[in-house]
């Protein structure tokens, strides 16, 4: 039979899928006609820069076929063997995590799940049903987590779980109070940052940022060549990270490795050098910022008698005072891009105790150098290519890009429940209510939204009795994650469903397991790299905008069904199918979303369907509007940032802070928490509550650094694509078992009798995790580098939450404590451990 090609789009690039005899045989970067590409050109330094006519995938996408046919797929609906949902039946919740499963038919599975949804709702109201997704496991406007899933649960009513900005916490809870951009959750606008850097930058300081690993979140490896251009151009690069990260490996340059938890001290010492040597942009500070005098006095020690000198920071950070001074002087003397997290970064410094202070200092340092002036920016180096911002296509972050809220629907049911849970503390809420926290998770509506008080259970609402989990990554991605196992075994959860494509770390804690299919087995539509909403124009991390008709390449494997079909079956059983589907198939929804976008002005549905993709090239004649240049020059905002609330108003020259300027002393914090000593109105250096100086360090002397992984997307593609086990930087195979790597310094290894390749136990009072030792000079002494996001949770004693895990879920070790008293951000990189050779 002849091969047939289908188009699709993953969370890290568009693909062409070749099918032969009903079987996928090849997955490659989307094959587009060369004539469809019209590459942009950036002129800089007498050279023209244009991207090649191709799409650059993240590595794991090449294992899509392996993941599709994985033996780790959930193949049929399953019921826990000792779970009896009958009125008199025993449910045995304590055996979740250890009891086995038996296959059941779809009819029985739907009957049990629909029956439990109805029973719990009738008895306790809809607030007793909680439903929670994982992030990013697929792509497409119909299948994405806020779409088919949310439409169903809004229809029946439920307690939603608020997401925390787990990848960039400090920017959300801190930097917003310095420069606004709450509508971007603390990340600056990315417009034309590549052109600005190529034309103007002389140096890039990558501070806790590894863009070659995090890849602009969704944009694959399109930006890798930008950094090569900058390197070839002779732009000097400095890397500040306790781990000599992969971008540093690729680029070369100066590596500075402070102790974890001391980056803020280093940043303050840099400010000290600039203040004492008067090498900051005094005019900019005067005109564009507020509160500098108070900040200056703090840095000079006039408030607390402690000048924040390089010598002071050297004591904290372990970096010589001379090195900090040299960096400060070089930074002030060159046009310097600060590449410090914020989309494409997401390193450890913003996800630790008091990470708000570091993120705010990043903004304030660049304010002292004239943030927004040519070559002086905050830029992750993975967004900001020339882009056509006039052609609209919704992302999952836009109401129109979800079938739960889109105007393409006749009606969108609204969830009647006001109660909320909060992701990092769901187990605490279930096990030990009541609990309280501040903020609505992703707070993109105002600065004040971070201060919204929440209580669970909410007055008038029920505690959660039914937990509907979609995906199951949290043992590897949240903090202090053994509490999830304890939660699952609580009788308070009367019924637990898990719906997923593969067996993940939480799957085996469910009572009923429902097998979903991958996006290659259903119909959808999606634009590569564009989340929309609070990350509008994330597609500027791609060299070409491309909207893809994500085609059903093969029928769902085994007994799996699309999420949309599963929810349709449940809705049918509950008597609300017509409201759920409005008579649409998933392909119908894809077409409806196409119809409400700007694409019909450019291409017919039939042509789009035939070709499978549509490229939206950057305008031929374009005028660059670099991010924040307008602010630096005192002009009205001219960037196409649609959510900037002041854009197009009389306040268009202002930032999103209360004063409209960069705030060394934050008005929004001062207004609500003037006396907060842990996130004071003006940033302070505060020693970590779990750092090298903590008393606990006597028992657990090593600091665990667990940034995002390089070879998986959070947990996705790890474990489920066994080809990835053969990437030796991703997992280390020893005696037939693929261990998660933990990198440690040779002296730390030697002191513990550990050799490269040994199986070692990382442990503290919260848990123990087995990893493969990678002995390397790429970490500073006292630091163990082991990424977060193992998909494999493999406790040596299944069902015992305190068991040592062999899978590599280092999140078991990280503290559950929130960043600071009023900041509900997680802080996994404030984690003390000890390591020993495992002889088990």
């Amino acid at each position: 039979m002849a091969a047939q090609d289908f188009t699709s789009c993953t969370n890290a690039g568009p693909i062409t899928v070749t099918v032969e005899d009903g079987k996928v045989v090849r997955v490659r970067p989307l094959v587009a006609e060369q004539g469809d590409f019209r590459p942009w050109t950036i002129e800089a330094g007498g050279r023209s820069y244009s991207p090649p006519k191709k799409f650059n995938l993240a590595p794991f996408v090449f294992s899509e076929r392996d993941r599709l046919y994985s033996q780790d797929r959930i193949k049929t609906p399953l019921k826990r063997v000792n779970f009896d949902p009958g009125p008199a039946g025993k449910r045995n919740p304590e055996s979740r995590g250890k009891a086995g499963y038996e296959p059941i038919g779809w009819d029985e599975a739907i009957e049990i799940v629909a029956g439990e949804l109805k029973r719990v709702k009738d008895a306790h109201g809809p607030s007793a049903i909680a439903a929670m997704t994982s992030s990013h496991h697929n792509w497409g406007m119909v299948g994405y987590k806020m779409s088919a899933f949310t439409r169903f649960f809004n229809l029946i009513g439920h307690t939603p779980v608020l997401d925390n900005p787990d990848s960039w916490e400090g920017w959300h809870w801190g930097a917003t109070h310095s420069y606004g951009f709450y509508w971007r959750l603390g990340m600056p606008e990315p417009y034309d940052m590549l052109e600005d850097a190529l034309q103007n930058a002389e140096m890039i300081v990558f501070w806790s940022n590894d863009p070659d690993t995090t890849r602009g979140v969704y944009t694959g490896q399109d930006a890798a060549i930008w950094r090569q251009w900058l390197k070839d151009k002779g732009v000097k690069m400095v890397f500040i990270d306790p781990f000599h990260n992969y971008t540093a490996a690729a680029m070369g340059g100066k590596w500075i490795a402070p102790r974890i938890g001391t980056d803020t001290a280093m940043a303050m010492a840099i400010a000290h050098v600039w203040i004492t040597e008067r090498t900051y942009d005094q005019e900019y500070v005067k005109d564009r910022t507020v509160g500098f005098d108070e900040f200056r006095d703090y840095i000079l020690g006039k408030q607390d008698g402690c000048p924040k000198t390089p010598a002071w920071a050297a004591e904290q950070s372990g970096i010589a005072a001379r090195t900090i001074k040299a960096l400060a002087r070089e930074w002030a003397s060159r046009r310097t891009v600060l590449s410090a997290g914020a989309r494409g970064g997401e390193g450890g410094a913003c996800r630790q105790a008091y990470g708000t202070e570091w993120a705010r200092m990043m903004v304030l340092l660049q304010a002292m150098q004239g943030l927004g002036k040519p070559g002086i920016s905050i830029w992750g180096t993975s967004m900001g290519a020339p882009v056509n911002a006039d052609v609209g296509f919704p992302g999952y972050g836009d109401p129109e890009g979800r079938i739960s809220t889109t105007r393409a629907a006749v009606a969108c049911p609204e969830n009647p429940v006001t109660q909320r849970l909060y992701r990092p503390i769901v187990p605490d809420a279930i096990l030990n209510p009541p609990i309280h926290w501040l903020g609505d998770g992703f707070c993109n509506r105002s600065l004040d939204q971070q201060f919204t008080p929440h209580t669970y259970p909410e007055p008038g609402c029920s505690e959660v009795k039914l937990w509907y989990r979609y995906g199951g990554s949290f043992m590897g991605t949240m903090t202090d994650t053994s509490k999830w196992a304890r939660m699952y075994q609580s009788p308070k959860l009367e019924f637990v469903v898990n719906q997923d494509v593969w067996w993940s770390s939480e799957t085996g804690f469910a009572d009923i397991i429902l097998p979903a299919c991958t996006q290659l087995e259903r119909d959808d539509i999606g634009e590569w790299g564009e989340p929309g909403g609070q990350t509008r124009h994330g597609n500027s991390g791609c060299n070409f905008r491309v909207v893809v008709r994500m085609k059903k390449c093969i029928s769902p494997l085994w007994e799996s069904k699309s999420d949309y079909e599963i929810f349709t079956l449940l809705a049918r059983r509950l008597g609300v199918e017509a409201q759920y589907t409005e008579g649409n198939t998933d392909r119908d929804w894809a077409r409806k979303i196409f119809e409400i976008s700007d694409l019909p002005k450019r291409v017919s549905w039939e042509e789009f369907e035939r070709k499978g993709y549509h490229i939206i090239n950057a305008p031929e004649h374009r005028k660059a509007t670099p991010g924040l240049r307008w602010f630096a020059e005192g002009r009205a905002c001219d960037t196409p940032d649609p959510r900037n609330p002041k854009r197009g108003t009389v306040k268009a020259r202002e930032l999103g802070t209360d004063s409209g300027k960069i705030e060394f002393v934050s008005g929004s914090l001062h207004k609500v928490f003037p006396g907060d000593t842990q996130r004071p109105p003006m940033p302070h250096f505060i020693p970590s509550w779990e750092g090298h100086q903590s008393p606990l360090a006597a028992k657990y002397p090593l600091q665990l650094l667990s940034p995002h992984p390089r070879f998986s997307f959070h947990t996705h593609y790890d474990k489920h694509a066994h080809w990835m086990d053969e990437v030796p930087l991703h997992r280390v195979v020893k005696d037939g078992y693929a261990y998660w790597p933990a990198r440690l310094h040779p002296e730390d290894a030697r002191a513990r009798g550990i050799e490269n390749g040994d199986v070692i136990k990382l442990y503290n009072d919260r848990g123990g995790v087995l990893c493969a030792a990678v002995v390397t000079e790429r970490v500073r002494r006292g630091v163990v580098h082991s990424p977060v996001s193992s998909a494999k949770y493999d406790p040596l004693e299944p069902g015992n939450p305190h068991s040592v895990d062999r899978g590599g879920c280092v999140a078991l070790l990280t503290p559950g404590r929130m960043m600071s008293q009023n900041v509900a951000g997680m802080a996994p990189n404030s984690c003390l451990i000890e390591v020993e050779k495992w002889n088990g």
Binding site: L57, A224, A249, I256, K325, V727, E777, V779
Partner: protein, 278 residues
């Protein structure tokens, strides 16, 4: 006549493993006879070597992708029996999956570890440059298509207009060690070389980085000079293997320093403190 070749630019390679994974996608479970049988787990027909040099904080990391080099004088062909390995007119060296069965000697004949043994099929296997795709009109193998930074450049070495021929003409393309007499069709740019790096501190000014201090490196034949940068760091690159050097540091007003260094040792000579002359 087409003569296929590849230049691998190690300076550009970021170690993303796209090449390895694209190769796996093309070959796992996919039989492309006559040029290749299906690739089993455990094979790396293009293997990315991670090379770490130096010590904290003067560390360099390189990634060196190694496919079959399709050697001009291929040792595997000598080891093969009964025509199990042949060179096509376009230069691609092919292990015939049918004739090579049982010939384990082919694996050990390769000095680069580029031939792998398939125990289940009793077969030696390796990279074919995706010959089945080239024969089908493709311009490049899967690994090259997958590379995000054009670190792998593929084409016709005999076509002077091809990128690969231009690179060979313009740059110093090298052979991977152990170097054969003749450069194989797969050559390298930027292979990791020996280096020395260190930091200079002035004993009476430990809180300032001395910029512009003269550092000289000499062997029996010649002397190269470097100056410390704004961090007081210096670096010498591209040195010979297994060689003895003398590193000397001079700064007006300070006692000169000299130390013997060897390229087999840690290239990070560490922090060298210069004491005032008087």
């Amino acid at each position: 006549m087409t003569r296929y070749g590849m230049v691998i630019d190690v300076e550009r390679c970021t170690g993303c493993f796209n090449c390895f994974l694209a190769c796996r996608d093309e070959h796992s479970g996919n039989d492309h006879r006559p040029v290749s049988a299906a690739q089993p787990d455990g094979h790396s027909w293009i293997k990315v070597r991670e090379v770490e040099r130096g010590s904290y904080p003067k560390v360099k990391v390189s990634y060196v992708p190694v496919p079959c080099l399709h050697c001009t004088d291929a040792p595997c062909m000598d080891a093969a029996i009964g025509g199990a390995i042949y060179r096509r007119a376009d230069g691609i060296v092919i292990i015939d999956p049918d004739k090579a069965a049982g010939q384990h000697g082919i694996v050990s004949a390769c000095p680069y570890g580029a031939v792998f043994w398939n125990a289940a099929e009793n077969l030696p296997q390796k990279c074919s440059f995706c010959a089945h795709l080239l024969d089908d009109g493709w311009k490049e193998p899967r690994c090259v298509e997958a590379c995000p930074v054009q670190a792998l450049v593929f084409g016709d070495l005999d076509d002077p207009r091809s990128d690969v021929a231009r690179l060979c003409a313009e740059k110093r393309v090298e052979a991977l060690a152990p170097k054969p007499a003749e450069l194989p069709p797969v050559g390298y740019l930027g292979l990791p070389k020996f280096f020395f790096a260190g930091e200079i501190v002035l004993g009476d000014k430990p809180d300032e980085c001395p910029e512009g201090v003269t550092v000289r490196l000499r062997d029996g034949k010649q002397t190269v000079t470097a100056f410390t940068d704004n961090y007081g760091d210096f670096e010498f690159n591209g040195l010979e293997a297994d060689a003895e050097y003398v590193l000397s540091i001079e700064q007006a007003g300070y006692k000169p320093r000299e130390l013997r260094v060897h390229t087999g040792a840690d290239p990070n000579v560490g922090t060298i403190v210069m004491e005032p002359a008087a």
